[in-house]
């Protein structure tokens, strides 16, 4: 890759790093995800600044003759892991919101009955 291209990639990863930092500072990402994303963006920064020479070695190690393919493979693998983790998280949230909705309904009914009983008590 030309120096020009490397600079471009570095700037892109810097942008991601800045975005993540901004979100963490504004508390738009919870701790749980903040740690993950800060490490991801630092990783990307390192990879794009000093990692390029290693790409060839990694590609050879994996037995992939075309280094950019190795890069894509690693990135897609990483993204897949992230998506799976997100699905797990969404499932958990779904379960929680279901339990909450059920509890709200059960407590609401109990409250309505108590209020009705009290009204009857006052009237009688």
């Amino acid at each position: 890759m030309t120096e020009h291209g490397q600079t471009f990639v570095f700037l892109l990863t810097l942008l991601i790093f800045a975005l993540v930092l901004g979100l963490v500072r504004m508390r738009k990402i919870t701790e749980h995800f903040a740690v993950l994303w800060v490490s991801i963006s630092v990783g990307l920064l390192l990879a794009s600044s000093v990692g390029f020479p290693y790409l060839f070695r990694i590609a050879t190690l994996l037995g992939i003759p075309y280094p950019p393919s190795a890069l894509f493979l690693l990135v897609i693998f990483g993204l897949t892991l992230l998506v799976i983790q997100l699905y797990a998280w969404v499932s958990k949230l779904n379960e929680r919101s279901r339990a909450l909705a059920q509890q709200v309904a059960i407590l609401g009914e109990r409250l309505d009955r108590m209020v009705a009983e009290r009204e009857r008590g006052k009237a009688g």
Binding site: S97, R98, A101, Q102, V104, A105, I106, G108, E109, R113
Partner: protein
């Protein structure tokens, strides 16, 4: 075992936009079974389901959002568990299930010693038998479940069922979400509970549209077997001991 009169039963009716069908059903239930308590679970309806239900002597759970029939029935089962009901019945709010058949379900629960009895429209061929295409699907699931549970099931998708306290204990904790009727049978079987069927008559819907349209029916046929496979992969839910549940 207590006598029939001393036992408390809860009829759980999951209702999504059933303002037209509920009044007739609730009146009939009251007439036939004044001793049973009725709990309508309004699953986030956009019509006057709650108002209509409250004109009758029933209890009403109003879910703040639409959870689907699984979430609605589970909310009813939580009430049944917390308030120590001896048995619970699920029936649809659309008029498909006839209140007259509750007596048969209850008798079958006592007679068979099962923990759940499913009302099947296919044990005897009378009443509403659903459309031909759906019957093929229902038969497929029933065969599949019969094989998996090693007990004959003819109407796996029927939402007309009765549970004893032991089954309530399991299902109040874990209730399948996506295809609850079919999966609940498997879940109870895997928890070591016994399931049987009794013949009931069903009618076509009185008013409104079925919650399962054509496209949805197609995806149901594909997704449910997958969901069954998935639930086989899942870790078993430990069933309660007899003492704990009684």
């Amino acid at each position: 075992m207590e006598t029939n009169g001393a036992r408390r039963g809860l009829v759980i009716i999951p209702a999504y936009n059933e303002e037209q069908n509920l009044p007739g059903l609730l009146r009939r239930l009251r007439q036939l079974y004044p001793q049973l308590e009725v709990l309508v679970v309004n699953d986030g309806s956009t019509d006057r389901t709650s108002e209509v239900a409250l004109q009758h002597p029933v209890r009403l759970l109003a879910l703040p959002c639409n959870l689907g029939v699984g979430g609605a029935v589970q909310a009813g089962l939580m009430v049944a568990w917390q308030e120590h009901y001896d048995f619970a019945i699920q029936m649809d709010g659309d008029g498909q299930h006839r209140p007259e058949d509750i007596a048969g379900l209850l008798a079958a629960l006592d007679r068979s010693g099962s923990d759940m009895v499913v009302g099947s429209r296919f044990l005897a061929t009378a009443g509403y038998q659903s459309t031909a295409a759906r019957r093929v699907g229902i038969r497929f699931f029933s065969r599949l479940l019969s094989a998996l549970c090693r007990t004959p099931i003819t109407d796996a998708t029927s939402g007309f069922r009765i549970w004893n306290r032991r089954a309530i204990a399991v299902l109040a904790q874990h209730y399948p979400e996506d295809y609850p009727e079919v999966e609940a049978i498997l879940l109870l079987h895997r928890a070591g509970l016994r399931i049987s069927e009794v013949s009931v008559n069903m009618r076509g819907r009185a008013a409104g549209a079925s919650s399962i349209g054509w496209m949805a029916a197609f995806s149901y046929m594909i997704k449910t077997p997958l969901a069954i496979l998935m639930s086989l992969l899942r870790k078993r839910e430990p069933g309660p001991s007899r003492e704990e549940a009684m």
